[in-house]
């Protein structure tokens, strides 16, 4: 993992001092609400329903054990004993007092953490593949490039007041696990025919009110030009992105308005001036950063561990957990483990201080002291010996982090929604829980198999509902909470936006509707066909028929509502 040098540390310390002074001036009445707002937002502070929410950056989802312990300390000392992992691999605390946030930031700085640019109209935390460095299908490790982008985007003087927020994701494997085509910039690290490293770049993707899959702006930018090229994109956006209407201010609207070809031409005209300029990356800098991401000290192990195989054969719950929560690793004898934060009854992505402490300890004991956050709001121990899986499973089970549901229906993505978020149209957590309860039969869950259910409390789409195989979106109708359902969205290499199946539903109807969608799938599926593949093959109509054909009375109720 990346470790700060003196320069990184100094910048973060200086930020703490800067923000402490800004907050002091705000509390003293020298800064107005309007003036303080962008300053606090660029330090991850929202004013939410109950208290300020503090969103702490977890660069591309990577955490060290000492950092996890600090998060536990913050949860315990400044919050109500828990935190919430977001779909952008960050963590949020819902209850800190504003006056104490400078103190929290000072403590975070002691473990090389911060809340810089986790909100506001600036370049946000860069996200990536939680299996980076260990996945068998990896072409190039994206993490050094993420770190280089993190440094470049941190306090960039020209891009602190963009028309709107700006999100970058980087993937370096055959499978896209970073949803790169749903970001303002998505980059895929690739090699060209000559074997040189570079980037295939997509722009203008995004969810939110106008979901759009990003378009390719270049099929290859050689690595030295990464920063100058991105700077050219950002400069065009900063100057020409719309500022008159916040709903039309994302870069996707500019790209759509100009068309990708004209947008590309503008970027290249801009880039022509800066290409090969001082921001061109050097071999030395890339090597310096990449040196932080070399393989840990792996042992030479047999491809399969006999005791592990035996435990799987003897212990059905363990075998079920292995099947869902353990992933193959590039090294023989190792595995990557997903700890589930989707236990029914707990808000998806939530974690307590005690669980965080446990995670830190387990990371140290079993996974070289590191852990990663996934955008599906789970945690990954990336480097676990097969021989340690049984012990790790037991420890995770004791900590209630071993629900064997990764990739299953109950492993749903869910934003904080109306219980916490000011922008929400509707609550999401209780409805998500009702769905989880409806599908509490593990055998049935496993029979349904791989499916992604994504839930957002409003069209800002923090729960990525558009790219869920099933998406649920909270909508407001005359002050009441309703839920719109989409089918057929997907993330990954063939990212697609789900289609609305029809009229929306009251909260109490949602579990029934999901059940009917699943029943439709079961009726139509071919052997071993996943929900999303069936949905793509048969189209929306069978789902609609099942849902609306059989809820005529409910539909009438909606119509009259």
């Amino acid at each position: 993992m990346y470790r700060y040098d003196d320069y990184d540390q100094k910048l973060v310390d200086e930020r703490v001092a800067q923000f402490a002074d800004q907050t002091r001036r705000y509390l003293a009445g020298e800064l107005s609400d309007d003036e303080y707002r962008p300053l606090r937002l660029q330090n991850g502070i929202y004013i939410q329903k109950h208290a300020p929410m503090l969103r702490i950056a977890i660069p591309y989802g990577n955490l060290r054990a000492d950092q996890v312990r600090m998060l536990a300390h913050i949860a315990r000392t400044y919050d109500k004993g828990y935190g919430h992992f977001s779909t952008r691999q960050n963590i949020q605390f819902n209850w800190p007092a504003l006056e104490r946030i400078p103190e929290i930031l000072a403590k975070l700085a002691t473990v090389q953490m911060h809340a810089i640019q986790t909100s506001g109209n600036c370049i946000r935390n860069v996200t990536s593949d939680p299996f980076a460095g260990v996945a068998a299908d990896e072409i190039i490790d994206p993490r050094p490039w993420c770190e280089i982008l993190r440094q470049w985007s941190t306090f960039h003087p020209e891009f602190a007041h963009l028309p709107r927020k700006f999100k970058i994701a980087v993937n370096g494997a055959k499978d896209d696990r970073a949803v790169i085509r749903c970001h303002d910039i998505g980059a895929e690290v690739v090699k060209n025919a000559a074997g040189e490293t570079g980037f295939r770049v997509f722009v203008g993707g995004g969810l939110g009110r106008t979901p759009i899959v990003g378009e390719q702006i270049t099929d290859f930018i050689a690595w030295p030009h990464l920063l100058t090229y991105f700077e050219a994109i950002l400069r065009v956006y900063n100057r020409f992105g719309r500022r008159d209407n916040m709903y039309k201010a994302r870069i996707k609207i500019l790209v759509k308005a100009l068309g990708i070809d004209a947008f590309r031409a503008q970027v290249e005209a801009e880039w022509a001036h800066t290409k090969d300029g001082p921001a061109t990356l050097t071999e030395a800098e890339v090597q310096r950063v990449a040196a932080c991401f070399v393989d840990p000290d792996y042992a030479e192990l047999p491809a399969s561990d006999a005791a592990f195989e035996a435990a799987k054969a003897e212990n059905t719950p363990f075998a079920a957990w292995v099947r869902r929560n353990v992933r193959a690793h590039k090294r023989p004898g190792y595995a990557a483990v997903v700890a589930s934060l989707k236990k029914t009854g707990v808000a998806p992505g939530d974690i307590t201080d005690a669980q965080l402490d446990t995670v830190a300890e387990l990371a140290e004991r079993y996974s070289f002291g590191e852990v990663r956050v996934t955008h599906e709001q789970n945690l990954v121990f990336a480097d676990v010996r097969q021989s340690a899986l049984f012990a790790l499973w037991q420890a995770l089970r004791d900590a209630e982090l071993a629900t064997p549901n990764i990739g299953l229906l109950t492993d749903l993505i869910c934003c904080p929604g109306g219980d916490f978020c000011n922008l929400a149209n509707a609550r999401s957590i209780p409805i998500a829980e009702a769905v989880q309860r409806r599908f509490d039969d593990l055998d049935y869950l496993h029979d349904i198999g791989d499916i992604e259910l994504n839930f957002s409390g409003c069209m800002n789409a923090c729960g990525h509902h558009h790219v869920g195989h099933i998406g649920i979106l909270g909508v407001d109708k005359n002050g009441e909470e309703w839920y719109q359902i989409t089918v057929g969205g997907r993330q990954g290499n063939d990212a697609a936006i789900g289609k609305v199946i029809g009229r929306s539903f009251a909260a109490a109807e949602v579990p029934d509707v999901i059940e009917k969608l699943i029943a439709t799938y079961i009726e139509h599926r071919h052997a071993d066909e996943r929900f999303i593949d069936t949905a793509q093959r048969i189209g929306l109509d069978p789902f609609k028929l099942k849902v609306y054909g059989e809820t005529k009375t409910a539909a009438r109720k909606v119509a009259n509502a």
Binding site: E35, N121, A279
Partner: protein, 173 residues
């Protein structure tokens, strides 16, 4: 007299800013005697102003800085207007004037300019910072001049730092 910060010093600001009202004709509007900052449209429509010596130009966010390239060497002052401090176009305009067009005269940020922006503005090439009159007391501005720079070694190359950190300093592996 209103104050501004120039090269880190608090000084009197003798310049007044001319803003066009809806329907004003840039060619016909009268620029009175005295030191005036005029909109680009006026500057372009009234070439005689350039000869006066006490008239300078200000750019809006949607103005094209390249429009000034012809007269850049003779202009002693260019201002960039921030209609709202959250409107970041001015940062790019400043950076372009300095690094692309080679402008060396005074580059002034006017409009909704806040002290919390000084670090970024300075790095984008602004050497004069003129918050709206009455925005800050002289004492507050004095305090702000001691604090123009929030970050001692920023990562990026910019107008102020010709090189990014990784070329400026030797970073230990």
């Amino acid at each position: 007299m209103p104050k501004l910060i120039k090269n880190g010093q608090l000084i009197d600001d003798a310049w007044q800013t001319l803003r066009l009202a809806e329907g004003d004709d840039p060619a016909g509007v009268n620029v009175p005697a005295g030191q005036w900052l005029v909109p680009l449209a006026v500057w372009q429509a009234q070439p005689a102003l350039a000869a006066r010596g006490d008239v300078a130009v200000w750019l809006a966010g949607d103005d094209e800085p390249a429009a000034l390239t012809a007269g850049l060497a003779t202009l002693a002052l260019i201002a960039v207007n921030f209609p709202a401090f959250t409107d970041g176009r001015g940062y790019s305009i400043g950076a372009l004037l300095r690094s692309r067009h080679g402008y060396r005269g005074e580059l002034r940020a006017i409009g909704d300019v806040l002290r919390d922006q000084f670090d970024y503005l300075t790095r984008c090439g602004f050497d004069a910072l003129a918050p709206a009159e009455g925005k800050y007391t002289d004492a507050q501005l004095e305090e702000a001049t001691r604090q123009l720079q929030d970050f001692s070694e920023p990562y990026q190359a910019s107008v102020k730092h010709a090189d990014p950190l990784f070329r400026r300093q030797r970073r230990a592996a």
